[in-house]
Amino acid sequence: MATINTIAIIGATGNMGSAIAKSLSKPGSYRLLLMSNDTDELAQLYSQLKEPNTGTEIYSISCAREASWEADIIIVATQNDAEKEVAEKIREVATGKIVISISNPLNSAYRQLITSSDTSAAEELQKLLPNSKVVKTFNTTFAADFISSVIDEKTADVFIAGNNGDAVKTVSEVVKSAGFNPIIAGDLSVSRTLERMQLLRIRYTMNNSYNWLAGWKILHN
């Protein structure tokens, strides 16, 4: 029996943070550390997850540094503009650890990315955390997909990009545990494409007034 990995979710009470937490709370998969500044919402999320999953070790922690210190894998689920502040808090304790970037650096109208074309939110996070293994994933899913990862009878694909092979493999397992089909897309710079894929889909969804239960699927035979 392998020791199970501990995952810290920074910004656990947000749309994505809570959706990811729910999808990973099945007993036997992971120890979960839920971090949020909002203690009331955090307590609510904690009992929501803990009651049906008494076998899972779940803790709520109000400090990003403490949660990351105890973790093997850190998911930064805050809004994109809070990442710099979070990175500064966790830099030292995230040394050698996997840090998952889920963000899409959208402008306020959701119509454009604020990053230039020669970089991505994931690569910027890697610059802020030079001693960590940043891996991009979950950015091409909507929060709603975590409730039902099977859409139109197909399990949605989730893309993964990162520079460290072992870290990418570990993250593939996380993606699988969350109910999705992991697809390893390439090194961290592929995040530029992945972040733009989500922009494309958000614009498409808004332009057509579709709902948010939608995902990417690569079809091949």
């Binding site: 029996m1 105890e70 304790v93 050698g96 650890k97 001693n131």
Partner: protein, 193 residues
């Protein structure tokens, strides 16, 4: 977060500011809770672990389900299943935190890189391995040839701190005696004083 580690290394090799900052990058800082395992027997031991704060133990479980404590590690000491770490084969030991602890984990690749990139680290690890062998030999000899009371007194002498912090059951297991024998020896020893 690295104070004990730096003083452990600094006591064996000369470390300047640059080397100190450099070497921190190779260690993964981890907080672990009391009763949490960092290694299960049967897995490969991926790290050697330095204890900054708290206490851990390594132990085996025999076919009858009895635990045998191999080592206690407190602040400033290292713990791992060295055979598994070096060979990449399955670990025989379990490693469990006996107190809420703060550790620094060093992986195989990181250890290699560290020895290449920070002058003196090869020497530090050589000394560490030497000390390991000495401790191991002492433990084997004590196991084979000392009486229960002698083993107890020896541990009291070299590690009084562990005696105070570990449970009676774990200390007895470490000394390969029953908890009853341990409590009898404790009484005898305190009566002699």
């Amino acid at each position: 977060m690295h104070e004990r580690l730096l003083s452990s290394i600094g006591s064996k090799i000369a470390l300047n500011e640059t080397a100190m900052n450099k070497l921190k990058q190779f260690f993964i800082p981890k907080k672990i809770r009391k009763r949490q395992y960092i290694l299960n027997a049967g897995d490969v031991c991926q790290y050697i672990t330095f204890v900054e704060k708290g206490m851990l133990r390594s132990f085996t479980v025999d076919d009858e389900g009895h635990e045998h404590v191999v080592q206690f590690a407190v602040e400033g000491s290292w713990i791992s299943d060295m055979a598994s770490f070096l060979s990449g084969k399955e670990a025989l030991y379990n490693i469990e935190a006996l107190e809420d602890s703060e550790v620094l984990n060093l992986g195989t690749q990181a250890m290699d890189d560290l020895m290449h990139q920070v002058p003196g680290m090869e020497r530090y690890f050589r000394l560490l391995m030497q000390n390991n062998i000495i401790a191991l030999q002492r433990r084997v000899v004590a196991y084979m040839s000392l009486s229960a009371e002698e083993k107890y007194l020896k541990l009291m002498e070299v590690a009084p701190d562990i005696m105070n912090r570990a449970s009676q059951q774990h200390i007895a297991s470490y000394l390969s005696i029953t908890p009853e024998t341990l409590s009898r020896i404790r009484k005898q020893v305190s009566n002699k004083k």
